[in-house]
Symmetry: C2
């Protein structure tokens, strides 16, 4: 009969352990890249046996697919905020663009994680399909928003589907590009903040046809740069 002592590890059921493994896999990818994220390393950091991971996921591909689901869930969760907000149409658009270029949004899933997943999507049709579904949902959401704002004379009368695609292109381009705009000497957050505002203003101009100088700095006052995964 085993006696409980300090070092004894609690057994966790699958509902708890599986997400833990996926999150650690994600963290490992951020730190080491997809190539560097082996099952063994993930297990070691969790202090479990590598076989346990394979026990749960069968093979590495399934683990990767679970990770994609995790990334997609986190990615899409921000949209739920907009479900029932009571704002004037103009404020609504402002908030939407601020959300899309907020630090919270683009740090929710580290761009390095996105890249790893996207890179794999070129060779894995299942993953490619999952990402396409993500974008489809995002687009649907934006089309609904833009249609509403069009009815209220805030955005110009163009095809909302086109607008959605252009805005999505701009946000994804920003995720990509943000890392590379920083001047070596001056560096840091000021640049990125300026860049984000600049992109919001461009999006605003594209959508409404009007110039706008952005009033506040979104994401920075409300959320003091807390990365999502630690």
């Amino acid at each position: 009969m085993p006696v409980a002592h300090d070092k004894m590890k609690k057994r966790l059921n699958a509902d708890i352990q599986k997400p833990k493994i996926v999150k650690q896999f994600y963290k490992t990818i951020l730190a080491q890249g997809f190539e560097g994220a082996s099952v063994a390393k993930v297990a070691k950091q969790m202090q479990i046996h590598p076989s346990l991971i394979l026990h749960y996921f069968g093979n590495k591909e399934n683990l990767t697919l679970a990770l994609v689901d995790y990334v997609i869930d986190a990615y899409g969760s921000l949209l739920k905020k907009f479900k029932s907000q009571d704002l004037t149409p103009e404020d609504r658009l402002e908030r939407l663009l601020e959300a899309l270029w907020s630090r919270e949004y683009y740090e929710k899933i580290d761009v390095a994680g996105s890249f790893a997943v996207l890179a794999v999507s070129f060779r894995n049709e299942k993953i490619h399909h999952k990402i396409r579904e993500l974008y489809r949902g995002l687009k649907k959401f934006l089309v609904r928003e833009f249609t509403y704002l069009m009815d209220h004379q805030v955005v110009a009368a163009k095809d909302p589907a086109h607008m959605a695609e252009v805005v999505m292109t701009m946000t994804e381009g920003s995720r990509h590009f943000r890392r590379f705009i920083i001047e070596e000497e001056s560096g840091d957050n000021g640049q990125i903040r300026r860049y984000n505002q600049q992109m919001m203003e461009a999006a605003w101009h594209y959508l409404t046809g009007k110039q706008k100088t952005w009033p506040t700095d979104p994401g920075f006052s409300a959320f003091p740069g807390t990365p999502f995964v630690r």
Copy 2:
């Protein structure tokens, strides 16, 4: 005295062999991903010995750095076309946007290759720096163009550096996004063509403040640009 027979393999000097290796490395990455592109696989496809690759490049990191240079060269080569063209300012802008969203441009370096390199750039400061230099050059070029076009009243009076960053964001976003807009059933070229035109029009609007409907390409004019959301 060596007699030439069919199986005899010519010895190639470094100037020929090294670029060959880099190109095959690139091809292998496209097919197998960065993780899948081992020195051994590259060597096998070239029918040379793995050691030869290490002989030339010392280690895999150097091979990767050489690849990045190759990608960057190919990437930046299109800009040279614009060096001395004789066009009206308006045509010049039109051609520029067409070049940025041309199939030639975005197929020059397969986006899968870009992603592989970009993914590695998160973990390799040398590669990150190289890419930053690429963008710096691209930006410089665009700033010069936009300044010229501003002086000739074609683009609106904004900060040309901002404009350059926004346009670069849009092109990079397009590279990224293009793969995911395709509807499964209807598929392929018509969609991408429509998408590219749509992005060019958005860029034109952002730069000039004016609407523009892009002249349709003769080959594709049969297809009505139907957006894909249900």
